[in-house]
């Protein structure tokens, strides 16, 4: 049975993530079918699709938490993961600083031994995501945008090759979302890692995206943004007529018959 494999010499190691012919089946239902794409280090890619298109399943498959019915996933190193929902009790005795520290050694057994190197690495990471000012507040008392910065630092401190974010803009106001997107793009370039962001709305990501993986009904098209967000390409993907309308630098994908805005 095809499984997640460690990087092998047969796969070009200059990709942070390679997904080849990936399929996932829940019983008789084919949830993902023949999904293939590659992400280079230093690039930002969006995983776009409406609810139920298979975004979460694809992320789970990349994380190795979902078995594949076909194909393979190769990651050139560790994965840093930022989950979508993060509702914490305000009294939880854990500061942002502590959570970032757990990103460094949370998988190790035994108690944390205080060390200057550890303290400095945590402080450096908090600084890199602009979270130093609220790092001593309990994570449950931070705003959504602040929590997300802490989670990004938590994911980044283990020096991953790939940063996966599950709907990071879903619960942010417009201003925080813009800041978050800019931060992620900066991180991708500065640390030379691939950032893969799932979203059901394309426009907030558009300014920073190098690549798009567009999912509909479990099938995907992938490529440079301009090659994917096109009427002919998306119509083929949806297997029905789709209009791609550009207004003031924004893109609307509209299903032809219903006139429903898809993304």
């Amino acid at each position: 049975m095809p499984r997640r494999e460690p990087p092998s010499p047969a796969v070009p190691s200059d990709y942070a993530l390679s997904v080849e012919g990936l399929g996932v089946r829940f019983g008789a239902r084919q949830v993902l079918e023949d999904v293939s794409f590659r992400l280079a280090p230093g690039s930002v890619a969006g995983l776009i699709g409406s609810n139920g298109a298979g975004k979460t399943t694809l992320l789970r498959a990349i994380l190795g938490r979902q078995s594949l019915s076909s194909g393979s996933v190769h990651v050139a190193g560790q994965i840093g993961y930022v989950p979508q929902k993060f509702l914490l009790d305000p009294d939880l005795p854990l500061r942002g600083r502590d959570l970032v520290g757990l990103g460094l050694d949370g998988h190790r057994y035994g108690l944390t031994l205080p060390s200057r190197t550890r303290r400095e690495r945590v402080a450096e990471m908090l600084d890199a995501v602009g979270a130093s000012d609220f790092a001593d507040t309990r994570v449950g008392r931070l705003s959504g945008g602040e929590q997300q910065r802490i989670l990004i630092a938590h994911a980044l401190i283990s020096e991953p090759a790939l940063l996966l974010l599950d709907e990071p803009l879903a619960n942010l106001d417009l201003h925080s979302a813009k800041q978050s997107v800019e931060l992620l793009a900066r991180i991708a370039r500065a640390r030379n890692l691939a950032v893969f962001i799932s979203a059901h709305e394309l426009n907030q990501l558009l300014p920073v995206l190098d690549h798009v993986v567009y999912l509909a009904d479990g099938r995907a098209v992938a490529g440079a943004t301009d090659e994917v967000i096109r009427q002919d390409v998306l119509s083929r993907l949806y297997r029905s007529h789709v209009d791609v309308i550009r207004v003031h630098g924004r893109v609307l994908v509209v299903a032809g018959e219903s006139g429903q805005v898809v993304s």
Partner: protein, 305 residues
């Protein structure tokens, strides 16, 4: 003044020294487990294990064994059944706990009934349900220390992975941690802590000693290890002061019979919790001292409410 508080003979009584020693050990174990319990939101499970522990205590009494072993065996078995039913799925949590709780109460009723028919008193039932810290046998101390040490060792070993998994199973799973196994390790430590607390304040009241100090500590400190240390301090203070008051109460009206230590201990825990809530609210109202940072606790509190 001190004379009036500490009755003559308090420290020279061997029953008192044993009560203070066992009480302190139980408070420390309870603090370590309790902080994780509050983080994981599993207080109901702790309460259920305490209640069904009564079945163990009662059956141990029937068999002529030490109540501690009855508490321990049944609490561990109860934790195992909860795990099998599915306590680790959020939706299965209350269900698993509730089912085990019901069966445990049934067994407790049976054994306590048989016990009271057997020797025609209700003394055993009161001791098991509400504790009797002055009636402990000296021989129990090594077992308390051994079991308690075991629970502490489990938590110290699992500390970081368990903290991450308790905060967010998603983050722990992304790091490749065995989230479910970590939950099993926690349940085992919790079952031991429940048995020890049942020995001290009785099975019905054991939750108060496990959850109360931890919940109060969480309001006072924002970091996990200091929270455990604070909870241990609160627990020890409550148990020791409770023992002292219970000893004093032999001189109190109306009956000069002495009030149960359990009553004093859980009342002190409750008062501490209320006081900690007050302190934490006052801190939240006070603006953060001037320094870098846009988000003051006041802003955050307003945002959350």
């Amino acid at each position: 003044m001190l004379r009036a508080l500490i009755a003559p003979g308090f420290f020279s009584s061997s029953a008192v020294t044993l009560a203070l020693g066992v009480g302190a050990a139980v408070a420390v174990v309870g603090a370590a487990v309790g902080v994780f319990t509050v983080i994981r939101g599993q207080s109901f499970a702790t309460h259920a294990l305490g209640d069904i522990g009564a079945a163990g205590g009662a059956s141990a009494y029937l068999a002529g064994a030490s109540a501690l072993w009855g508490f321990t065996v049944v609490a561990v078995a109860g934790a195992a059944v909860m795990e099998l039913i599915g306590i680790q799925r959020l939706r299965g949590r209350d269900l698993a706990t509730g089912v085990v709780l019901g069966v445990g109460f049934g067994l407790s009723a049976l054994f306590l009934y048989l016990g009271s028919t057997y020797d025609n008193t209700t003394g055993a039932a009161v001791t098991i349900l509400f504790g009797s810290i002055f009636a402990l046998q000296g021989s129990v101390l090594p077992f308390v220390l051994g079991l308690g040490g075991g629970a502490i060792a489990i938590l110290a070993t699992l500390f970081r992975p368990l903290l991450l998994a308790s905060t967010s199973p998603d983050l722990a799973a992304a790091k490749g941690l065995p989230v479910r196994l970590l939950g099993v390790g926690y349940l085992l430590a919790m079952a031991i802590a429940v048995a020890l607390a049942a020995l001290t304040v009785g099975s019905i009241l054991s939750t108060a000693l496990l959850i109360g100090p931890a919940a109060a500590a969480l309001k006072l400190t924002a970091r996990p290890l200091p929270a455990i240390a604070t909870a241990a301090g609160i627990g020890i203070a409550a148990v020791w002061l409770g023992v002292l008051l219970a000893y004093d109460s032999y001189r109190w009206p109306p009956v000069h019979q002495g009030w149960p230590a359990s009553f004093f201990i859980v009342t002190l825990v409750l008062l501490t919790y209320l006081a900690a809530g007050g302190v934490s609210r006052r801190r939240a109202r006070r603006p953060r001292p001037a320094g870098p940072g846009p988000a003051s606790p006041v802003d955050v509190a307003a945002e959350r409410s």
